[in-house]
């Protein structure tokens, strides 16, 4: 059998698409001018940055002047949450509402703020991995500065009721931020209609390169800078503009958002085929709501098969997948997301995340469906706790 290579970890990162690569290449090579410089080489770079800003704005239903380029999704999250907290603390608002299963870029930021004296409410997400709007409403207080709730979870792919939360926050006059890093391109987003005040996204999840992000901030929202310095990004985010990556992100978001229903129609049947097939493995379970989930997300647990061993075995079979989020590899703790939806430590240790997209085909799916049961079987046979 020829060894097949199947990349099924698209929530960790994606391959730069050819269209995006071709768009960015001239700005890495000949178009190296500083976008703030006055000569032609710089002006052209400046115009390219502004075109990309427009592309991002159009994809989100925002104005270009509301788009700020950052160095990554984590930076956007940190800026939004720390910025809002510090801004509104001056008005006596020192309470933040979030969920227990946010990405660490939000959770660790909230924990850092707690050390500074802020109070944070971590809402539960129940067995289906979806926060309840009523819980948000109950948690809002006089001194609530910010609600920050992710659009779609990066591990179990569950999509949150963002429009309702947005409407609620607008009504209650509380700022609302959403980490949409996993949602962009998979869910139609309109920041105006959905009453989103701030939104984070990251290029490398949508076929742009790593190391470029965006923070959308609604006109009128002014928070302290995270990175002070030169006058770039209208004085709100310093650092020489990363022109090539900005151009790439502009193109990538345009492509990602041009046919979201088409993507869902193509990818979700493949996702369901995997879930249905792997559900036949004894002692398995699907994590997170089956319907309200990202079109490419499969997250399952197999008791008796440890997650990392599963991944290494799949790698030997040419399949790239993950268990929990990539950035917590190296930690011994089981996924906080899986614990949040009620899994025990034991079960959480044996979980697998497969994230496919439109670049995957049926042959990939078949390879996954064939391989995973064999690998689970092999590991269980090696386990001292397992009895058939």
């Amino acid at each position: 059998m020829m060894k097949r290579f199947v990349y099924a970890d698209n929530s960790a990162t994606t391959k730069i698409s050819d269209a995006v690569f071709n768009e960015m290449l001239p700005w890495l090579k000949e178009g190296y001018g500083n976008a703030s410089s006055i000569y032609a080489l710089g002006r052209e770079a400046g115009f390219a940055v502004e075109r990309a800003r427009k592309q991002v704005a159009d994809a989100l239903g925002a104005q270009p002047s509301e788009i700020y380029f950052t160095g990554c999704g984590s930076e956007s999250d940190n800026w939004a949450v720390k910025g809002a907290a510090h801004k509104l603390a001056a008005k006596g608002k020192k309470h933040i509402i979030t969920t227990v299963f946010e990405h660490h870029a939000i959770l660790h930021t909230c924990q850092a703020l707690e050390k500074e004296g802020f109070e944070v409410t971590y809402l539960p997400v129940y067995e289906n991995g979806i926060v309840r709007v009523q819980d948000v409403e109950n948690a809002i207080r006089e001194d609530t500065a910010l609600v920050t709730i992710m659009y779609a979870n990066n591990e179990i792919g569950t999509i949150q009721p963002i429009s309702q939360i947005g409407a609620l926050c607008r009504e209650k006059n509380v700022w609302f931020h959403t980490d949409a890093v996993q949602a962009v391109g998979n869910v139609p987003i309109d920041v105006k209609e959905q009453n989103i005040d701030m939104l984070s996204l990251s290029g490398h999840k949508i076929h742009a390169p790593k190391g470029i992000g965006v923070l959308y901030m609604k006109k009128g929202i002014v928070i302290p800078n995270l990175i002070d310095g030169g006058g770039q990004e209208r004085g709100r985010r310093a650092g020489t503009e990363n022109v090539a990556s900005i151009v790439a992100l502009g193109k990538a978001i345009e492509l990602a958002c041009e046919d979201i229903p088409g993507r869902i129609a193509k990818v979700s049947p493949m996702r369901d085929k995997i879930i249905d097939a792997l559900s036949k493995i004894p002692y398995s379970r699907v994590n997170g709501d089956r319907e309200r989930r990202l079109n490419g997300n499969v997250n399952m647990s197999f008791i008796g098969a440890e997650g990392e061993a599963l991944l290494l075995s799949l790698d030997l079979a040419g399949i790239c997948a993950s268990s929990g989020s990539a950035c917590t590899t190296g930690s011994l703790d089981p996924s906080h997301v899986l614990l949040a939806i009620g899994l025990s430590h034991e079960v959480a240790h044996g979980s697998l995340r497969i994230t496919i997209n439109e670049d995957n085909d049926q042959a990939d799916i078949d390879h996954i469906i064939q391989t995973v049961p064999q690998v689970v079987e092999k590991l269980r046979a090696m386990s001292p706790m397992w009895e058939d």
Partner: protein
């Protein structure tokens, strides 16, 4: 998670996997909550470890350390097997990522636990010889 080629080799094709139904000593360490359990079976002939098998539930490093630790004690005298340290295991694997060193501790403990069981079965109190088999530090930090 930067595993050496040696770790990956042992993970891909672990040596000495299985059980010994007529084992002279069996040791099990770790727990499912922290995600690693190792069970080791030894056969002793003439003061030598004539055969050894293991079963492990755990990460890649846990499987690789089990595999190499069984290799290292197979055919060795009981005295030499008792001297197996986790750092020798790490070295034999060309290193382990910091967060995975505990797996080598587990392997050392599994060998000791199997030997302790062997002594116990011979009617000898293992504690003065093998020492106390505590839980691995990493476990306590969970």
């Amino acid at each position: 998670m930067l595993y050496s080629d040696k770790v990956l080799e042992h993970f891909a094709a672990p040596h000495n996997v299985g059980e010994l139904p007529d084992a002279d000593g069996v040791g099990e360490v770790g727990n499912a909550k922290c995600g690693d359990i190792m069970k080791m079976y030894i056969k002793v002939d003439d003061g030598k470890i004539s055969d050894v098998k293991f079963k492990t539930f755990g990460c890649g490093a846990a499987i690789a350390t089990s595999s190499i630790a069984t290799d290292m004690i197979k055919g060795a005298s009981i005295e030499d097997a008792l001297k197996l340290t986790n750092s020798a295991v790490v070295e034999a694997l060309d290193g382990l990522p910091a967060s995975k060193v505990h797996c080598s501790v587990l392997a050392e403990q599994a060998v000791k636990a199997a030997l302790a069981d062997y002594y116990r079965k011979q009617g000898v109190d293992p504690t003065p010889i093998v020492g106390e088999i505590g839980e691995c530090e990493a476990c306590h930090n969970l």
